[in-house]
Subunit: 214 residues, 2 copies
DNA sequence: GTCTATAAACCGATAGAC
DNA sequence: GTCTATCGGTTTATAGAC
């Protein structure tokens, strides 16, 4: 209902994503135009921890719809995967390597220090993996393999975000995109072949034919 | 020379790795038995920032030798890669998912807030990628492909660390290990085949035959 | 619901005795 | 070189007027 609550979560999510949990102060959230300090504690009586927990959940849901929109909007999965990685790379450049994963920094900070926040990050990551796995299954990949492949893809993306932000270069996400796309194509091709379909020149998995990003 | 300086860096490295830069206080470093507060400022007059910078460099060198020891100590690269990921997974469990990458948390925290520390993390990551690429080349992978593959492998490892710490499960690192090992085997096989060697049943890249972790 | 003033605790950093 | 006491500033969180 109230727009103030929403605005607080927006500003909080952005700051936590860029500077982390411990590195962002309540006064900075206030200064960034979120709301007055009193309003923050009015809507989030649990203080900074509650604010962070709800911010993690909100970011989790937003990124989930991003995954669904981009991958679900593509013609097939490996094209969707490529779109997602390319889009993430462009967004990195556009924001000067500030905006990558909305919860990764928090996740590492709280993993060994705050059990409740740790679980919140785990649930968000889990929902993204599930979504990606669902799209892979839609593309014909068996459930068990889809889950493993989705976990791998998210891990590769998260790691690429770290390396890209540190080096201020898109090199890592391009390398990762190539390899993840290859893994997805392999999984799909394996299914197609076992079903006897001939979707293309499968045998031998050519060393090239994936698309060269760099 | 002085053992105190070393001890300070040890304690600092551990705390920064587990709780991050902003989340770790100087007094906590003192409390953890590193040294007296005055001693810290005696050896690191630049304060917390200098302490962090040197800690990043030290962690970078230590992890570099770990990479060289484990991968270099294996009979071939893809076995070395498997050893490294398996070892990392076991270490995660042994430390209750506290010890993963020594600088990842710091890297995300400072990427958009502290230019000097950001560069320090970038150099550490770069040295690890170079080392891994060197081992891949030793295994016959062409230089350009080795660099890309090494970047991908490190990114996948880093991302797996995030997901494993968040979920308190080794599932992610196992999934990632399987796929990274597969990519390495592919790269090696491609070279062997182009050289006309017959190292095994290459054509068609069997859908199984990598080793099932989970 | 929103705001300001402020409390209480803690932060990084310094001074100076030893 | 090592230690303790402490400064000045900032932190999270609260109180209370509006």
């Amino acid at each position: 209902m109230s727009t103030t609550r929403q605005k607080i979560l927006e500003v909080t999510g952005e700051l936590f994503a860029r500077q982390g949990y411990a590195g962002t102060g309540m006064n900075q959230i206030v200064a960034e135009g979120g709301a007055a300090l009193g309003s923050i504690y009015h809507f989030f009586p649990g203080g900074k921890a509650q604010l962070c927990a709800e911010s993690i959940r909100r970011s989790g849901e937003l990124y989930l719809t991003l995954i669904d929109d981009i991958i679900g909007g593509a013609e097939n999965i490996d094209e969707g995967v490529r779109d997602f990685f390319l889009g993430a790379g462009e967004h990195l450049v556009r924001t000067n390597y500030a905006d990558a994963c909305p919860i990764a920094t928090i996740a590492l900070e709280v993993a060994s220090t705050d059990e409740e926040l740790r679980q919140a990050t785990a649930e968000a990551f889990g929902s993204w993996v599930s979504a990606a796995a669902r799209h892979l299954q839609r593309g014909g990949v068996p459930a068990a393999e889809a889950a493993q492949l989705a976990t791998f893809a998210l891990a590769a993306l998260e790691g690429a975000f770290i390396l890209c932000r540190a080096s201020q270069s898109t090199e890592a996400i391009e390398s990762v995109a190539t390899h993840v796309q290859r893994a997805v194509q392999d999984a799909v091709a394996r299914v197609d072949r076992s079903k006897g379909r001939g979707t293309g020149p499968i045998p031998g998995r050519s060393s090239r034919g994936v698309q060269a990003d760099a």
